[in-house]
Amino acid sequence: MIASAPITWYQACRTIDVPKNGGVCVKIREEQVALFHFTRTDTWYATQNECPHRNQMALSRGMIGSQGDIPKVACPFHKKTFSLETGECLSGDECSIKTYPVKIENGWVFIGMDE
C-alpha cells in the first residue's frame, strides 16, 4: 500500500456560488485557489490561482474548455493553457500548476490540501 500524504479538506464555497462552466478564486489559509466547474459533466477542478507564466493571480478568471479529452483553463493574460487534471502546461511551456482534489457535500465545495 502506498501511504498518501494526509489531506485536510477545506470548505470553499457553495456550489451555486460558482458560475456555470467557469471559475472562481477561493482563499484557503493564505493561499489563492482557482476552482472550476464543468456543468455539462458536473466535474470540479481546483488549481493554484497563480499563472506561472508571469506570476499573475488570474487563472480563476480564465476561460475553461477541453483539448481532446483533457479539461483545461486558458490564462486571461497570454492565453497559456493548462491541464486541470495534471497541471501540465499545454502550450508547450516548461511551467506547470498545482492541482488539488475537490469533493462536494450537501451543496458545499471542499478542496483538499496537504497539511
Binding site: 456555470k20 472562481v24 476552482l35 508571469r54 493571480m57 478568471r61 476561460m63 474548455g65 483539448q67
Partner: protein, 833 residues
C-alpha cells in the same frame, strides 16, 4: 577562462553572442578591443545610412548589451601588439590583458591600388560609418562621381553616389566585365544595360593610371590615355585582410594576405584563432558575412569544449541594389561534358538566367540570375540540398517567383535541414518550429524568435512562404474551421445559429459542437450570438463563454487590475464630465491617460471596485466605451466646420451620430472609425475600418483601413454621399463584414482576402449585387435599437454584480498580491517577474 577578442566588427560581435550563449559568466572573462569608436554595426546594410538609417539603428547591440553580459568592451583602442610567449596583448592606450584564448576578428580594409593621387581630398573608401559620413559631407558640392571597382561593393557604392544626388556617376572596372567573380559574361552585359538605366556609366577594361587635382580630386587619368573629370571618387577595388598584427606576432599569413587557419580555425599558434574576413582558410578569404558567422560559431563551440570544424562555405550572393536584381549561387561558371547549362536571355526586359545542372538532369549545380532574382532562394536551397529536380528542369527558369510552385519545387519540397537563413544558420525545421510550437504568426515574430532574416535579409521571401504554407496547413487561413470543437467555419456557424434560433453558447455547443469548448470558440460564438440577437452579453449563462475581458467588461492589466474606459463619442466632452472623471480617478486611485482613440482611460481598478466606479460614472451620464469588446471602439473626429477655418461640414456631430449608432455592436474584431471635416484629414479617417471625409458635396466613405502592425489605408467606397446614404452604406458594409469575416479578422484583412477586392465590395454594398442590402439594413436597425449600456445592466443586476469580487469566499477582500509603483505624479503596475 580568459578570452580576448580583437576587432568588434560583425563577426567579432557574433562571436561574443555565441560565447555568451555557451559559457556562463562565472567561467569566463571576455575582453573585446575595437578600433572603431562604435560598437559593432551592420556593415552589410551600411548603404542604408544614406537612406536615413542612423548609426544607432545599424548597431548590432548597444554598449549596454556587452555590460549586461559581462563583456569588457574597449572601443577606440586598437590592439598594437600580441606577445605570444607571455600570452598577453597590448593596446594603443597601453592596456595589457592576458588571454588563454585569443580571437582575431580584425576584418579587412579596402584595398587601395598603388596609384598616385589617392591621398587627395574627395577620394574615399567605402567600409565604415565614418567613411560614409565623410562622403555625405563631401557629396553636396559634387556633380560627377566615379567608383573604381565594378564588383559587388563597387556597384553598391556607385548606387549610393546616385542616391546622394550625383546622377552622373561612372564605374571603372579593370576586368572585361562587371562582377567577374559572381556572374558570367552574358550576365555582366545584361547587368551593364540595367545599370545604365539607373544612370550609371560603365567603363570596363579600364585601368587607372593617376588621380589628379590640386588639393581636391578633379580628374582621373587611365592607362589607355583617356581621362575622366570627377568631383568625388570612391575606391572599391577589393579587400585586404587586416593581418598586420598577426604577421608581426609571427603567425603564418598568406602571400596575398590573410591569417592562415586550419579547419579548427586555429592560426599557427593553437591558442589564437582567426575568424571573419581576416582569416585565410583553404587559401580563401570569405568576403561575406554568413561564412564569418559560421566561423564565430565554430570557435565558440571549440572554446566551450565542443568539437566542430569549419569546412568551407557556400559563396552564393545576391546583390541588394534597388532596381537591379543580381544573384549567383552554387558554381555559377561550371562547364564540361557532363554538365547541362540552360539559359534564357531577354534583352528587352533585361533578364538573364542561367542554371547549370548535372548531366543526368537530377541536380542543380549553380547558376546566375540577372534582372529577376525572385527565385534565388528557392534555387539556392534546391542546389544546396541537392533536391532531385523535376523532369522539366528548364521550367525553373520561367515565371518568376511562382516558378518553384509550378514545378513542384515549393518550400515544402525542402528537407527540414535546409538552411533558410545562411547568415544566422537557421534551418527550415527551426522556422517551422517557431510557427507550430512557439506560436509565431508573423514574419516579424519569426525574426525575433529564430533570428532568421536579421542578417542580410535575403531569406525573407522564403520565410514568408514557409509561414504562409504552415499556417495554411494548420488551417489558420484556408481551412477556417473554428476549432476542434466545431467542424464549421464562422460564417456557417453564424447561419446555423440564426437558423436554429440558438441564444446561448452552451446550447450552441450541445447542438452543433462537441467537448467542452475552448478559448477560441467561446469568444467567437459569443460574438456571433451578440451580433445576431443584441442581448446583454453576460446573461443566459453567456458570461463564462466570453473572453475574460468581456466577462468583466474591462481590460485586464498587468498585475490583475482593470482599466475603465467610458465612451466619449467623437472625442467631445464637457468640462463637467472631465471633472467627474477626475474625481472618480482620485477616489479609486486610478492612473489616467488620454488614449490614442480620443478618450480617457483609467487604469489600475480592483475587480471589486469596478461596479462602484461604473455606478458613479453612469450617474454622471457616462456609458461603457466597449474598450474590452470586439465592438465599435471610437469614432475619432476633427473639430470640423464648427471652429476650423477649413472645415466643410460638422465632422464632430457626424462622428457622435455614428458612434452612438454603432456603439455596443459586436463584430469579428474591433471596429474603429473617424470623420474628418476636410481633405486635410486631421481625424486620420483613412486609417480606420470605416472613415468619412467631408467634400464640397457631402461625404466620401472609405473602408477597410487599419493601423496596428500592418497599416493600410482605407479605400474609397463611394463619393459625395449625403449623411443618410452614407449611414445606409455603412450599415450594409458592417453587416456584410459581421456575417462573413473569420474570427479576429479586421476589415482590412477581410478585404485583402476577398476575391474581387474593393470593386466586388462596392458592387455588393452600393449596387446591392447580392440583393441583401434591405435585409442588412433591417438587421442593423434591430441591433441599433436593442442597444443598452452593458455596465448599466451589470450594476443593476445583483447576480451579475456579485461576480465582481476576487475571492468568492471573502468578497470584500482585494487581491493582496496586487502592487503598484509610483510613476511621475501617478502610479503604474508593478513590473512583473
Amino acid at each position: 577562462m580568459r578570452i580576448v577578442i580583437i576587432g568588434n566588427g560583425m563577426v567579432g560581435y557574433k562571436c561574443c553572442e555565441k560565447l555568451v550563449n555557451r559559457i556562463p559568466p562565472a567561467q569566463r572573462t571576455i575582453t573585446v578591443f575595437g578600433e572603431e569608436t562604435r560598437p559593432a554595426y551592420d556593415r552589410v546594410h551600411l548603404s542604408e545610412f544614406f537612406a536615413g538609417k542612423s548609426p544607432e539603428e545599424l548597431t548590432l547591440a548597444p554598449a549596454a548589451w556587452y555590460e549586461e553580459n559581462q563583456i569588457r568592451l574597449l572601443l577606440g583602442d586598437p590592439v598594437i601588439r600580441i606577445d605570444r610567449a607571455s600570452k598577453t596583448i597590448t593596446s594603443h592606450q597601453g592596456i595589457t590583458v592576458s588571454y588563454d584564448f585569443l580571437i582575431l576578428a580584425t576584418g579587412s580594409a579596402a584595398f587601395v591600388p598603388p596609384v598616385p593621387g589617392t591621398e587627395k581630398k574627395g577620394v574615399f573608401i567605402y567600409r565604415t560609418i565614418e567613411d560614409l559620413e565623410m562622403m555625405r559631407d563631401w557629396a553636396g558640392k559634387c556633380r560627377t562621381g566615379a567608383v573604381i571597382g565594378g564588383g559587388l561593393l563597387g556597384l553598391e557604392a556607385a548606387k549610393a553616389l546616385v542616391d546622394l544626388g550625383i546622377t552622373n556617376t561612372h564605374v571603372i572596372e579593370f576586368a572585361t566585365r562587371l562582377m567577374p567573380r559572381q556572374i558570367d559574361a552574358t550576365g555582366s552585359l545584361l547587368l551593364e544595360a540595367r545599370l545604365k538605366q539607373l544612370g550609371l556609366t560603365i567603363h570596363t577594361n579600364k585601368n587607372t593610371a593617376a588621380i589628379e587635382g590640386d588639393d581636391n580630386v578633379s580628374k582621373m587619368r587611365f592607362t589607355d590615355g583617356t581621362e575622366l573629370s570627377t568631383d568625388i571618387l570612391v575606391i572599391s577595388a577589393g579587400i585586404r585582410p587586416r593581418d598586420e598584427l598577426a604577421r608581426a606576432a609571427g603567425l603564418e599569413t598568406g602571400s596575398r594576405g590573410g591569417i592562415v587557419v586550419n579547419d579548427n580555425l586555429e592560426t599557427t599558434d593553437p591558442h589564437i584563432f582567426a575568424i571573419g574576413e581576416c582569416a585565410l582558410h583553404g587559401n580563401m578569404i570569405y568576403g561575406l558575412v554568413a561564412p564569418g558567422y559560421e566561423m564565430a560559431d565554430v570557435v565558440a563551440d571549440r572554446i566551450s569544449g565542443r568539437h566542430r570544424s569549419f569546412t568551407g562555405f557556400d559563396m552564393s550572393t545576391r546583390l541588394k541594389l534597388i532596381g537591379t536584381d543580381v544573384a549567383s549561387f552554387g558554381d555559377p561558371f561550371i562547364e564540361g561534358d557532363n554538365i547541362r547549362t540552360i539559359s534564357v536571355t531577354d534583352h528587352q526586359q533585361g533578364i538573364y538566367k542561367r542554371i547549370n545542372i548535372s548531366g543526368d538532369g537530377k541536380t542543380l549545380l549553380g547558376g546566375v540570375l540577372v534582372g529577376d532574382a525572385a527565385d534565388y532562394n528557392m534555387l539556392l536551397q534546391t542546389c544546396k540540398n541537392q533536391i532531385v529536380l523535376p523532369p522539366q528542369a528548364d521550367a525553373l527558369l520561367f515565371g518568376g517567383r511562382s516558378a518553384g510552385e509550378q514545378t513542384g519545387m515549393g518550400v515544402d519540397s525542402l528537407p527540414d535541414a535546409a538552411q533558410i537563413c545562411s547568415c544566422e544558420a537557421v534551418t527550415k525545421a527551426a522556422i517551422l518550429k517557431s510557427i507550430t510550437e512557439d506560436g509565431c504568426e508573423t514574419v516579424d515574430a519569426i525574426k525575433k524568435c529564430t533570428k532568421a532574416g536579421t542578417g542580410c535579409g535575403g531569406c525573407m521571401p522564403m520565410v514568408k512562404d514557409l509561414l504562409n504554407h504552415t499556417l495554411k496547413a494548420q488551417g489558420k487561413y484556408i481551412r477556417n474551421l473554428l476549432c476542434e470543437h466545431f467542424p464549421y467555419t464562422r460564417q456557417e456557424l453564424f447561419d446555423l445559429v440564426k437558423l436554429h434560433d440558438i441564444r446561448s453558447y452552451d446550447e450552441v455547443l450541445s447542438q452543433l459542437g462537441s467537448g467542452h469548448g475552448c478559448e477560441t470558440c467561446k469568444p467567437a460564438i459569443s460574438s456571433i450570438l451578440a451580433s445576431l440577437w443584441g442581448e446583454m452579453i453576460l446573461r443566459k449563462g453567456n458570461d463564462t463563454a466570453q473572453d475574460s475581458n468581456d466577462r468583466f467588461l474591462a481590460n485586464i492589466q498587468k498585475g490583475g487590475t482593470y482599466s475603465v474606459v467610458p465612451r466619449i463619442p467623437g472625442g467631445e466632452i464637457t468640462p463637467e464630465k472631465l471633472i467627474i472623471i477626475g474625481q472618480v480617478a482620485q477616489k479609486y486611485q486610478l492612473y489616467t491617460k488620454i488614449t490614442g482613440g480620443q478618450r480617457i482611460d483609467l487604469f489600475g481598478a480592483h475587480l471589486s471596485d469596478l461596479p462602484a466606479i461604473w455606478e458613479e460614472l453612469i450617474a454622471a451620464g457616462f456609458e461603457s466605451g466597449h474598450a474590452y469588446g470586439k465592438a465599435l471602439r471610437t469614432v475619432k473626429s476633427c473639430v470640423g466646420s464648427t471652429w476650423c477655418r477649413f472645415g466643410l461640414h460638422d465632422s464632430v456631430s457626424y462622428a457622435i451620430r455614428l458612434e452612438e449608432r454603432y456603439r455596443g455592436i459586436r463584430a469579428p474584431h474591433k471596429i474603429k472609425s473617424g470623420v474628418s471635416g476636410c481633405i486635410r484629414e486631421c481625424a486620420e479617417a483613412k486609417s480606420k475600418d470605416f472613415g468619412i471625409i467631408a467634400t464640397e458635396k457631402g461625404w466620401n466613405l472609405y473602408v477597410c483601413g487599419n493601423g496596428g502592425s500592418k497599416p493600410q489605408h482605407a479605400l474609397l467606397l463611394a463619393a459625395d454621399l449625403d449623411s443618410e446614404t452614407c449611414i445606409r452604406y455603412i450599415d450594409r458594409f458592417l453587416m456584410f463584414y459581421i456575417k462573413t469575416a473569420d474570427p479576429l479578422t479586421r476589415t482590412a484583412t477581410w478585404l485583402n482576402k476577398m476575391e474581387g477586392g474593393i470593386d466586388y465590395l462596392r458592387n455588393v454594398v452600393v449596387n446591392d449585387s447580392l440583393g441583401l442590402a434591405a435585409a442588412w439594413e433591417e438587421e442593423m436597425q434591430l441591433l441599433v435599437a436593442s442597444y443598452e449600456c452593458e455596465w448599466k445592466a451589470a450594476v443593476n443586476d445583483p447576480e451579475i454584480r456579485k461576480r465582481f469580487s476576487h475571492f468568492v469566499n471573502a468578497p470584500e477582500e482585494k487581491d493582496p498580491t496586487i502592487a503598484f509603483a509610483p510613476l511621475r505624479d501617478q502610479k503604474r503596475a508593478a513590473e512583473w517577474k
